[in-house]
């Protein structure tokens, strides 16, 4: 699997397009959803950009080796994955308007701790370009699905939990890699 495909799987698992669409369908009125999602998407992309390009500086500031941060990122992904697997998705009456774009869509759905931790870790390990490309595409997929927001909450919930399971697997791999790395 190429680096890009591998990272795309990571970010699809972290961002969880089905989960985002579930929230969009359940708590965002159809009218104005486009504005909310566009705002959320732009803010999330800005946060991911900051994470990707600030990764080296952040790890230098924290005095943490990339391998050690990988373990920490894996733990974050594991916690989020378990939350999603058990259906503990954030519940908030998102409402309409730009504020809903910030919360809950940008934070914590689109640019949640799993996404940002993965962005920092993979930016340092795999490079900024491929990380940004994978994260960007995953965000786009999430927004596109949320925009359609099919009225199938059970299907979306089921897909979301499956994605949570995938995130747990991704997290385990990251943690093992963080321990086994030099």
């Amino acid at each position: 699997m190429t680096d890009f495909l591998r990272l795309l799987v990571v970010f699809l698992a972290a961002i969880n397009p089905a989960g985002v669409a579930f929230v969009a369908a359940a708590w965002t009125p159809e009218r104005g959803r486009r504005v909310v999602l566009a705002t959320g998407g732009l803010l999330a992309e800005a946060l991911v950009l900051a994470a990707v390009f600030g990764a080296d500086g952040l790890l230098d500031f924290l005095e943490v080796a990339p391998e050690s941060f990988r373990l920490a990122a894996g733990i974050v992904l594991l916690v989020v994955g378990v939350q999603v697997l058990w259906g503990l998705t954030p519940s908030a009456a998102a409402g309409a308007g730009l504020s809903a774009g910030l919360f809950p869509f940008a934070i914590p759905l689109l640019a949640g701790p799993a996404t940002l931790a993965a962005a920092v870790s993979h930016s340092v390990d795999d490079g900024e370009g491929v990380t940004l490309a994978a994260a960007g595409l995953a965000l786009a997929v999430a927004l596109a699905l949320a925009l359609q927001a099919p009225a199938a909450p059970r299907v979306l919930d089921g897909l979301s939990r499956l994605t949570g399971g995938l995130l747990v697997v991704v997290a385990a791999g990251l943690m093992v890699s963080g321990v086994r790395a030099i």
Binding site: L62, E63, V64, A65, E67, S68, F69, L71, A72, I75, V76, V79, P90, A92, G95, S99, A100, L102, F103, P104, I107, P108, P113, V179, R180, A181, I182
Partner: protein, 400 residues
């Protein structure tokens, strides 16, 4: 909305703090130069020479708080400490050869002879693989330092003991049973096999064509393929710096000029060792002496512990230069070796700190853990810092 956002951000901050306090704590790698590494190694050797008794043995362990020496002794560690002094001589500092030779005379007086071999025995008459292996490794270092053939006979006799202790699968048992005139099948040692491996690899380097390589290869394959499983290592691979020494020595054998000496399994094993030692360095680099650090990250490793990591990483760095299959690991292995060498130098007792001890002569140049130092703290730290010089020098040369 704002309440929800603030609660979310507060939760994130809490989680980040927990991670920061635990797995993502700051890692401290004190800087060190090649000259400082050599100075640290030399000061450790000076400590060893200062505490040597007239009969050639050393002070085994000293508790500074109680100003008391431990009456126990360990012949394996005696051999290891002596080896480190010879290593220093082979590394260009012959000042401590007289002390090392006195320690060798002490060992020669305690050799047990059987059939065509000889082995180092302890005070109770016990004959252990590791003691003889390290004595042999020390004499090999002496040979490299002096080119003096005086102990060649003893070296070959010790090596024949190692052959006698080797099992069909290449592994080693710990002790020789005098009554049975055979290796005691009941006990193994996680150190002795690697020690024997390195000693045999050194024998082939010094005396090529005498057949020591076959035995060394057999151990290498046992370590690479079977040891952790057979000896039920809980978290494999066992952090075996002697195995790293042996693999690096094999990769530098004369026949390496015509092709790689290590098998694919040996290389995989070497890579796993690099990962293990790198992890140990990262974890310990987060530790400080504060009570909070001890609570969250555990106690700092003692000088001997860190020393073994530096020794291993030094050897593995040499391996990354000798075998192209390890080349991708070279920068990271160097980084961890330099970090751990810096940690060692930083924790070594300086003249200023030694002055605060009741016995400054027993403090200067040593590594203390909870107020106690043991001779192998200085041994492993000496060896580690000595061999880290090459890495440090190459990094300095590479800088613009």
């Amino acid at each position: 909305m704002w309440r929800g956002l603030l609660v979310t951000l507060a939760l994130w901050a809490g989680g980040a703090l927990i991670l920061r306090a635990t797995v993502a704590a700051a890692e401290h790698c004190p800087s060190i130069t090649a000259d400082e590494a050599l100075a640290g190694a030399t000061e450790a050797a000076a400590w060893i020479a200062r505490v040597q008794r007239p009969d050639g043995s050393y002070l085994y362990e000293y508790n500074a708080a109680q100003d008391a020496e431990t009456p126990a002794y360990n012949v394996v560690r005696h051999a290891g400490v002596t080896m480190s002094l010879y290593q220093l001589a082979a590394g260009g500092v012959p000042d401590f050869l007289p002390a090392a030779d006195r320690a060798t005379a002490w060992m020669v007086a305690r050799l047990y002879r059987h059939d065509d071999w000889q082995a180092l025995q302890d005070a109770d008459g016990g004959i252990e693989t590791g003691a003889s292996a390290l004595m042999l490794a020390g004499l090999a270092q002496r040979r490299l330092a002096t080119n003096d053939p005086t102990f060649d006979f003893v070296m070959r006799a010790l090596a024949r003991f190692l052959l006698a202790m080797q099992q069909a699968d290449g592994s080693y048992l710990l002790t020789w049973d005098r009554a049975a005139s055979a290796p005691d099948p009941r006990e193994r040692s996680k150190y002795a096999t690697g020690e024997a491996f390195w000693a045999l690899a050194l024998m082939h380097r010094l005396f090529p064509g005498e057949g020591w390589d076959a035995a060394a290869r057999a151990v290498a394959d046992y370590l690479s393929l079977h040891r952790d499983r057979i000896e039920q290592q809980k978290f494999p691979p066992w952090a075996d710096q002697w195995a790293a020494y042996g693999l690096a020595e094999m990769a530098a054998w004369p026949e390496a000029a015509s092709g790689p000496v290590l098998s694919e399994a040996n290389v995989r094993y070497a890579r796993s060792l690099a990962e293990r030692f790198g992890f140990l360095v990262r974890v310990d680099s987060r530790r400080t002496d504060s009570w909070l650090s001890k609570l969250l990250h555990g106690r700092r490793a003692r000088g001997a512990g860190i020393g073994t990591w530096v020794e291993a990483l030094d050897s593995l760095w040499r391996l990354t230069g000798a075998d192209g299959r390890m080349a991708d690991m070279r920068p990271k292995v160097a980084e961890r070796a330099v970090c751990s060498a810096g940690m060692l130098r930083d924790r070594q007792v300086s003249p200023a700190r030694a002055a605060t001890f009741a016995r400054p002569d027993l403090a200067l140049g040593a590594w203390y853990t909870d107020g106690v130092t043991r001779m192998d703290d200085q041994q492993h730290a000496l060896s580690g810092m000595l061999r880290a010089r090459e890495i440090l020098a190459s990094q300095a040369a590479a800088r613009p």
